[in-house]
């Protein structure tokens, strides 16, 4: 994925275990990752909380949590994010 910058992986999936988010950020950087929960909401919530303790700046945290998605999806998709991305 490093060589395909138009591909944005999300963090969903119940098999995202410890160390995997850190590794994805190390390789791809915070601007390529999108938070998502897929179907299992407790793993989605756990990943939101895990993002807070792996040493990201508040700016980087915002990128992964919502800002990358707000930049990527068409205008109007996330009305509450309009003007903040």
């Amino acid at each position: 994925m490093l060589d395909t910058p138009n591909v944005y992986p999300d963090l969903s999936g119940s098999g995202v275990d410890r160390g995997m988010i850190d590794a994805a950020i190390d390789v791809l950087g915070v601007r390529r990752l999108l938070w998502a929960c897929d179907l299992t909401m407790e793993t989605g919530l756990a990943k939101l909380r895990a993002l807070e303790v792996i040493g990201l700046s508040s700016d980087d945290l915002a990128d992964v949590r919502w800002r990358n998605a707000a930049r990527l999806f068409p205008a109007g998709t996330f009305p509450r994010c309009e003007g903040h991305a």
């Binding site: 119940s14 098999g15 995202v16 275990d17 410890r18 160390g19 850190d22 179907l39 299992t40 909401m41 407790e42 793993t43 919530l45 756990a46 990943k47 909380r49 895990a50 303790v53």
Partner: protein, 253 residues
């Protein structure tokens, strides 16, 4: 509340960030947990558990107020009874065993003897169903998940048996629990780190049917995200909030 399913040490199939005792101490504090039963992560893939136990005790020695050893006893090896006595004398709070990794069938006589001996010593036998999801498991990791017949056979071994099962999903838990008598069911506790929350709400379903008193808290650190079980508790429906799950630290010796 303690974490009954933590490890230190390296994992053979994936690089884990700093799986060290001092890091675990900080993680437990961050998660609001008072301590942990800690196993030696490479041990399931080593034939001889003695060296693994020595490494575990040495690693935990500076942190024994918080990190309680859960060493391995392999009951198909000579003098395992002496190993059991030794590790209990050295402060073990639970005994780990890996029958799938040791090629043992559901009715292995030596595992039954170990369960009974642990029961006599009033120490829980801690069994791990899986370390990783099957979808991402290394092709070299061929042990397979612990099965319902294994668990039922051990729960039925005797009145004094106490089992703690880490890493079960709803299917295995129900297959085992509903195949036991009420007395046998009370000999088994489960962690809920691998049980789905919403929208399927399998954890909520099991709290209503099996009962909160059958559950203990386990994180599976350093393999899994420690935030998972807390998120599972926080997403319970309002009527099930703060379920009276059991603190494994209260299991008396």
């Amino acid at each position: 509340m303690i974490d009954c399913a933590a490890y230190v040490g390296s994992y053979p199939f994936r690089q884990l960030p700093h799986p060290d005792p001092d890091v675990l101490i900080r993680v437990l504090a961050r998660e609001g947990l008072g301590g942990a039963w800690v196993g030696w992560l490479p041990a399931p893939w080593q034939r001889d558990p003695l060296a693994a136990n020595d490494a575990l005790f040495a690693a935990l020695e500076p942190h024994r107020q918080t990190l309680q050893p859960a060493p391995v006893v392999r009951p198909d090896w000579p003098r395992w009874e002496r190993t059991l006595r030794d590790v209990i004398d050295r402060g073990a709070r639970a005994i780990r065993a890996y029958p799938m990794h040791w090629g043992m069938g559901p009715h292995d006589a030596s595992m039954r003897r170990l369960a009974l001996a642990c029961g006599d010593a009033k120490i829980p036998l801690l069994l791990t169903v899986r370390f990783e999801d099957l979808r991402q498991r290394s092709p070299l990791d061929v042990a397979g998940d612990l099965t319902g017949p294994h668990l039922r056979a051990l729960a039925r071994a005797g009145e004094q048996v106490r089992l703690v099962i880490a890493g079960a999903g709803r299917e295995l838990l129900e297959e085992t629990h509903w195949g036991l008598t009420p007395d046998e069911q009370r000999r088994v506790h489960w962690d809920f780190a691998w049980i789905w929350g919403p929208p399927e709400d399998q954890f909520a379903h099991l709290l209503r049917t099996v009962g909160a008193e059958r559950f203990v808290y386990g994180t599976h650190w350093p393999l899994r995200l420690t935030q998972n079980p807390r998120a599972n508790l926080d997403l319970l429906p309002a009527e099930l909030r703060d379920p009276p799950i059991v603190d494994a630290g209260s299991f008396a010796r």
